[in-house]
Amino acid sequence: MKDYVIDACVVLSMILKEDKKATAFCQNLIMETEKNKARLWSTFFFRHEVANGLRYSNKDKREVLEIWEKFMKLPITCIELERNFLGSVANLSRKLDISIYDTSYHYLALILNGTFLTRDREYYQKAKRLRNIQCF
């Protein structure tokens, strides 16, 4: 069983942006999840980030509500990092010069020994040396 940590950008780009490579990647991820070969995880603020992304996307209220309704059914387990972990996240974030938000996703992937999936190339370039990360 593979463990994937996904960020808000992965989820939103699934529906708002279509490119062949990303579509193929998502299809594969969906197939693995359907066959119970993969589990999806995320951080506790993930839903807020998705909501914010939808809020500032060019979608109207009705469209946002439909997307949100389907989004809430996704089998993604959201985890709140404990206080002692947050200290490590803060250190890592300072070291990489990246926000706590982005680092939390990656840190979660590290403690789960899974893979952090992101579409944020800038973050990927800064943090790829930590491993457990894939950018598509």
Binding site: A8, C9, V11, L12, S13, M14, I15, L16, K17, E18, T23, C26, Q27, L29, I30, T33, E34, L40, E49, V50, N52, G53, L54, R55, Y56, S57, N58, K59, E63, E66, I67, K70, F71, K73, L74, P75, S99, Y101, R119, D120, R121
Partner: protein, 116 residues
């Protein structure tokens, strides 16, 4: 002569269909074929407790009807379950309806708007 008649009947599905319908008193005007309305004998394995229940609670010669009804009730739900998409695939299908010309960077900016 008789053999020839039997052979001709065997090769004519419509005639056989009509004959069976008449024999089994099935409504001749029904569009449902014999295969769907007739019964077949099958062997199934059930848990021991189910067997006890069937023997104790269901009158003799009504077990088949009871089992058949129970299965028939389950069929629409089974079909619905089969047709239902995985939530992730259902979400992914939304792209056909909502794909926009936003770039990945624009999506990232939308997510982080107001955080800084």
């Amino acid at each position: 002569m008789t053999l020839a008649l039997i052979f001709s009947l065997l090769y004519n599905q419509n005639v056989i269909h009509t004959l069976i319908m008449k024999m089994s008193k099935i409504n001749a005007h029904s569009n449902v074929g014999v295969r769907e309305t007739g019964t077949v004998r099958i062997t199934v394995s059930v848990p021991y407790l189910v067997d006890i229940f069937l023997k104790k609670q269901i009158p003799k010669r009504q077990v088949s009807q009871f089992v058949s009804d129970a299965i028939s009730k389950e069929i629409p739900e089974f079909i619905a379950r089969k047709k239902k998409l995985h939530p992730l695939r259902e979400f992914f299908e939304l792209r056909k309806k909502y794909k926009s010309n936003m770039t990945v960077q624009e999506i990232i900016n939308a997510i982080h708007k107001g955080q800084k």
